[in-house]
């Protein structure tokens, strides 16, 4: 009887082991950030409140660097504005008011990870401010990630520093484009792949966003080429030093593509 009980206990333990491991693996494979975010809304609200406060403390400790960075960005924007003001005179004859393709929502990073294979950020802007899943997140120094889920006041962003994330990028000179991904080691390095072998890519060449997706605007500077190597004999793989320092991210812009829905509708029709 004791042996039978022992055998039954061992069998149920093995069955439980298989069930738990299967559940865990299924969660890893199908793990949806959106579901997790919604199911744990209450927990997330408390955590976000706490993170918002710790983020403020970190900001005050690093405010000098952040201010310098914002001042440099301000200067660049003022120069752009001066250019636009000059162009405005020529546009006066245009009667129709052109709606800009992209508009921006300013946000602050309250949570940021850079050391994992699947990094993420949490921003202090949510549904209330018009943020929606699928929107891009950028700074003046590069692409940051894509909004994956939103609550009323916060947005969960899958970082570019995620081995499953890619951004369409191009070389500034030639315009040759390909997917840029993060290989998972250094938060300051990415890889631009699928560049044809006949394209000359020299160290120091600038890499920009291509604008071929509806997520990010074109021509955002992303980084500089460090080196190139031939991949599988048919294309080049360029190692890129990112301009954005993900460790010190604080102020970011969420990108709303005002024509995104129209483009998406066109895709649906073409299918």
């Amino acid at each position: 009887m004791k042996n039978r009980y022992g055998l039954l206990s061992s069998l149920t333990a093995i069955a439980l082991f298989i069930v738990l491991e299967t559940v865990a693996i299924l969660m890893v494979v199908n793990g949806s950030v959106v579901q997790r975010y919604k199911v744990l809304g209450a927990v997330r609200s408390i955590e976000s409140w706490f993170w918002a406060r710790t983020s403020k403390l970190t900001y005050y400790l690093n405010y000098k660097t952040e201010n310098e960075r914002l001042a440099a960005e301000n200067l660049q924007l003022r120069q752009q504005l001066a250019g636009y003001a000059a162009a405005q005179a020529q546009l006066d004859s245009v009667v129709r008011i052109i709606e800009p393709e992209y508009t921006y929502i300013g946000a602050t990073v309250i949570r940021n990870s850079v050391d994992r294979q699947h990094n993420y950020l949490i921003l202090d802007r949510g549904e209330k401010e018009g943020v929606a899943p699928g929107m891009g997140v950028v700074t003046a120094r590069g692409v940051v990630g894509i909004v994956s889920a939103v609550s009323r006041h916060y947005a969960y962003v899958i970082s570019l520093l995620n081995t499953e994330q890619s951004v369409s990028a191009k070389l500034a000179g030639s315009g040759a484009f390909g997917p840029m991904t993060w290989p998972g080691k250094d938060p300051g390095r990415a890889v631009l792949a699928e560049i044809p072998v006949h394209i000359e890519a020299a160290p120091g060449d600038t890499v920009l966003s291509s604008g071929f997706s509806t997520i990010y605007p074109p021509d955002i500077p992303l980084g500089r080429v460090i080196e190139s190597k031939i991949s599988q004999g048919s294309s080049q793989e360029l190692s890129v030093a990112l301009f954005e320092d993900f460790r010190s991210l604080h102020n970011v812009y969420i990108v709303r593509n005002n024509r995104g829905a129209e483009i998406q509708e066109l895709y649906e029709k073409a299918r």
Partner: protein, 168 residues
């Protein structure tokens, strides 16, 4: 782990693991894990079913609260928890006469305790690193990350196991 002080100690360990996961940035080459120590601290009298369920709960809790990949720590924790008693008998107490609830460094000596803790941590980290990095990272990186994380995590767990050695 029946006394309130021991339970508080375990809760503090779990909170420390959360702080490490969320705020200690050591780079992509290292993962510090304390869950193997928590699994080791579950009384030996508990059935494998209970141990696996506790390990699953701890792992999933960590995955969710530290915004990791859901199921990653849960998978590794269950894999380390399942052979726990077998490993204890194999590495610490072969004659099965031990009546202790929780294996302590003081009772078993440094070498045996370290072997037991080291093997549990190795199983945990091997599962964690493989599932996290497989198909996206080269094997060399996975092996290096595992080795660095294993040495660091075992050392940290050993250090954190010291306060519990003086329990009566």
């Amino acid at each position: 782990m029946k006394r309130p002080a021991d339970i508080i100690y375990c809760i503090l360990l779990f909170l420390l693991q959360l702080v490490i996961s969320d705020y200690v940035h050591l780079g992509p080459w290292i993962s510090l894990c304390l869950l193997p120590l928590l699994i080791l601290l579950i009384p030996l009298s508990r059935s494998p079913h209970v141990v696996m369920l506790i390990a699953f709960g701890l792992g999933l809790g960590l995955d969710i609260l530290s915004d990791g990949v859901p199921g990653l720590n849960a998978f590794a924790a269950v894999l380390a928890a399942a052979p726990r008693k077998f490993l204890y008998r194999l590495l610490v107490n072969a004659d099965r006469q031990d009546k202790t609830e929780v294996p302590l460094l003081r009772d078993n000596g440094l070498l045996k305790y370290l072997k037991y803790l080291g093997v549990l941590t190795a199983i945990y980290l091997a599962a964690y690193t493989l599932v996290d990095c497989i198909s996206v990272r080269p094997l060399g990186y996975i092996a290096a990350k595992f080795l660095i994380s294993w040495v660091a995590s075992t050392a940290l767990c050993l250090l954190l196991a010291l306060p519990i050695q003086n329990r009566s």
